[in-house]
Amino acid sequence: MQSLYERQLAALGALGVAPPGKLTVMRGDIVRMTVAFNYRGSAINVTLRCSIGQKNLGVFDEIAYATKPISLPQSMDFVPYEAYADISTAAIAPGMNYDIEAKIEEYTGQTLVKVDNVIDVLGEPEFQNFVITDYSKL
């Protein structure tokens, strides 16, 4: 259970958020998406692709993405790995509940994962509940 302070930091993007937690960023911020996986087999070079998008008629509609090459050495047994890609949100219109997706491009069938409604993107400076609360003689 996160404390209020941690939730505030998370809301500011200063802390990493684990799914299905929500991350709020300003448009133009960079979102670093981290994945973990196990791999065994021959030595291969693959590409990690991380995306932010929205479901459109049930289909993930990719809006922004980033790729990163990964080299995996030969292994007879499963070995754990962690990798990340940094996604620019400049192309994403301010909005709520964006989805994310990650996969190894060459092995989509084994790796494609999605998490829905986890990114909020804020846009122009926005005020809310602006009211006069008091007036007095100084």
Binding site: G13, G16, P19, V25, M33, G41, F78, P80, V113
Partner: protein, 265 residues
């Protein structure tokens, strides 16, 4: 020793056919044929056919030019047979071994007593070569010794035997494949079917398939033969590495792929 005729006489005057007065060359033990350059070992057996000990000398000559048993002597008991040994290098033609026995007379002179001959034919040299060796594994091929063959492939040996003679010959093969643990995994032998292999040509022998299911070094011993005159002389041999097999690497596989974290950088 008393000479029956009082004094030594030429052998032709005193002996019957096939033996001398005092000695008899009972056998010349030597091969009927030999290849040029081959060492021919010869044993000449001489029997004392007299009633007392005789000092017997032996001389053996190849074609009157090579005295390869050169006055070797022995005292031989009555009725006993003494062997005299020697050898010569087979010339590039057939030859004749001529063996002679001599005895030492009372006057200490040596007298010729018996002789015998044996022909040694020049044996044909059978020539052939294992000219090519390949390992087929599934749809690929590699020259033997092959390396880095993936584990789990199906192996198939191909060996070519070349006829290096001037006449058409029937070629034969035998080989044995052992896995890295020394277990025999394939034994193959065959004589080619008619028509046979013409001079300078090669015949391809193809074995049976076996599983290359162990990582490590596989070995093969292969021997090439030729069928001539009821004989099967060995022509060529290879004994060594068939191939090295690599441990099988599993197909690329991912597991537990998940997004663990996302943050503002």
């Amino acid at each position: 020793m008393e000479h029956p005729a009082g004094n030594p006489k030429p052998i032709a005057e005193v002996t019957g056919v096939g033996k001398g007065t005092y000695t008899q060359i009972t056998a010349i033990v030597a091969p009927d044929s030999a290849q040029a350059g081959q060492t021919v070992n010869v044993e000449v057996k001489i029997k004392n056919i007299w009633s007392t000990y005789i000092h017997i000398y032996c001389v053996a000559v190849r074609d009157t030019v090579d005295r390869f048993i050169d006055w070797i002597d022995a005292w031989v008991a009555p009725g006993a047979t003494q062997s005299y040994y020697g050898s010569f290098v087979m010339p590039n033609q057939s030859c004749t071994i001529n063996a002679y026995s001599y005895y030492e007379g009372d006057d200490s002179y040596l007298y010729s007593d018996d002789s015998k001959s044996k022909d040694v034919a020049l044996a044909e040299v059978y020539e052939g070569t294992i000219s090519r060796k390949e390992l087929e594994y599934d749809s690929a091929r590699a020259a033997i010794p092959a390396s880095n063959i993936p584990q789990g492939k199906r192996g198939l040996v191909h060996i070519w035997g070349r006829n290096d003679m001037s006449t058409t010959q029937q070629m034969g093969i035998w080989w044995e494949v052992k896995d890295p643990d020394g277990v025999v995994r394939e034994t193959y032998s065959a004589w080619e079917a008619w028509p046979y292999t013409s001079p300078g040509s090669s015949h391809e022998f193809i074995g049976g398939r076996f599983n290359l299911d162990k990582a490590g070094t596989w070995r093969i011993t292969a021997q090439l033969f030729m069928k001539v005159d009821g004989q099967s002389p060995l022509l060529d041999e290879y004994s060594g590495t068939l191939c090295t097999v690599q441990t099988a690497v599993p197909e690329p596989e991912f597991a537990g792929f998940a997004v663990t974290d996302y943050s503002k950088k």
